[in-house]
């Protein structure tokens, strides 16, 4: 029963992959070996695809594998399997937090958690800056940085900082507007080189 198996495999991925979308990668790599549903090179393609379509990457990957393996029902079942552990665990955590929200340990735990969470997001943002400026898969050193750097990306970033932070009215526009402007700029000025 392929659908049951899809659900089970992605449930496992959802249960053990902790953190962002790329945390699912090692599990998918293992899944490719044990099930033969897709090859390693298909997996590499899937990563590229997930990065160039909207939606969280883990979900995109589950949907794609499910679709390739079992059509639209497969896509639905694989995605359901991936998100089921999240839903179950978060519902339990939410109930727990509600019960303990006045506990001083919980409050001071969050006092430490908040800056850590902000720091993790900042680090992820810095990681994206690196990929946007130098492309993925290079080791950037002081010596080759000047050659690798994409000046187009530097200029676009500077323009975006000004637009989103300093220009009255414009800075209050919905973030998707800036994404669309950036996509257009990327296409017009051939950002990928």
């Amino acid at each position: 029963m392929i659908y049951l198996r899809l659900f089970y495999e992605f449930f496992k991925t959802g249960l053990f992959a902790i953190g962002g979308g790329l945390a699912t990668l090692p599990f998918l790599s293992k899944m490719s070996e044990t099930t033969g549903w897709f090859t390693k090179s298909q997996l590499a393609d899937m990563i590229a695809v997930s990065e160039s379509t909207p939606g969280p990457m883990g979900v995109n990957m589950a949907t794609y594998v499910g679709f390739v393996t079992g059509g639209i029902p497969g896509a639905v079942v694989a995605t359901a399997g991936l998100v089921a552990p999240s839903i179950i665990v978060i519902l339990i955590v939410a109930a727990f937090l509600k019960a303990f929200k006045d506990n001083p340990y919980v409050a001071s735990g969050f006092y430490g958690l908040r800056p850590a969470s902000t720091g993790l997001i900042a680090a992820a943002g810095i990681g994206v800056i690196g990929i946007a400026l130098f492309g993925a898969g290079h080791t950037v050193t002081l010596a080759n940085a000047a050659q690798l750097i994409s000046w187009k990306a530097v200029i676009l970033m500077a323009v975006m900082v000004v637009l989103t932070r300093f220009v009255p009215k414009v800075k209050d526009l919905h973030p998707i507007v800036f994404i669309l402007i950036a996509a257009a700029a990327g296409m017009i000025f051939h950002f990928a080189g």
Binding site: I18, S52, V59, N60, V93, A116, L120
Partner: protein
């Protein structure tokens, strides 16, 4: 609009506007969920992200479940999650046949190279907004700097940082209380 339908539609919008990982979702959540719908505060959002880091599953789904649950219980949590994954299901299923060709198109590569340059600016802006509720004194500034540097240069799971930071928070508060 009934709240359950509103949850699905709002998280559908968040899902379709998220390019890349869960972090790219943050600016959209701030706009749609905090500023437009008032379903959560900036502070709650940063809490959800922290919990999402160290619980199973992807952050995008964890955050959607949290916010949906807060609005309308278990069903709300499930429907918010349905909303956030629906764009992926629709788009990937439609594109599946041609998808590898799609990702190889020069114009698609160009567009997404542009999008990446924008996404990091949006994440930076999102961090500035979170800053006010998270970095409130010297110890929290120290935790922020340590975790940012640690997660850039040390290859360990974010879970480690989250757990250590929670312990640090408890210890700092205890020590302050004793003074």
């Amino acid at each position: 609009m009934p709240i359950l339908l509103d949850l699905v539609l709002t998280f559908f919008r968040v899902g379709i506007m998220t390019f890349g990982g869960g972090y790219a979702m943050l600016p959209m959540l701030q706009r749609e969920v905090v500023e437009n719908k008032h379903w959560a505060t900036e502070e709650e959002l940063v809490d959800y992200f922290a919990i999402g880091q160290c619980t199973p599953g992807i952050i995008a789904v964890n955050t959607a479940t949290f916010i949906g649950q807060k609005q309308k219980g278990t069903l709300g949590g499930i429907l918010a999650t349905v909303g956030v994954v629906l764009p992926s299901l629709l788009i990937i299923s439609v594109l599946a046949g041609v998808i590898t060709t799609f990702a190889d198109l020069q114009i698609v590569k160009d567009a997404f190279a542009g999008v990446r340059a924008c996404v990091c600016v949006l994440i930076f802006n999102a961090v500035c907004k979170l800053w006010k509720s998270a970095i409130i004194d010297k110890p929290t500034l120290a935790i922020f700097l340590l975790v940012t540097a640690g997660s850039l240069f040390i290859d360990v799971s974010p879970v480690v940082f989250v757990v250590l930071a929670a312990i640090a928070g408890i210890l700092i508060k205890k020590w302050e209380a004793r003074k």
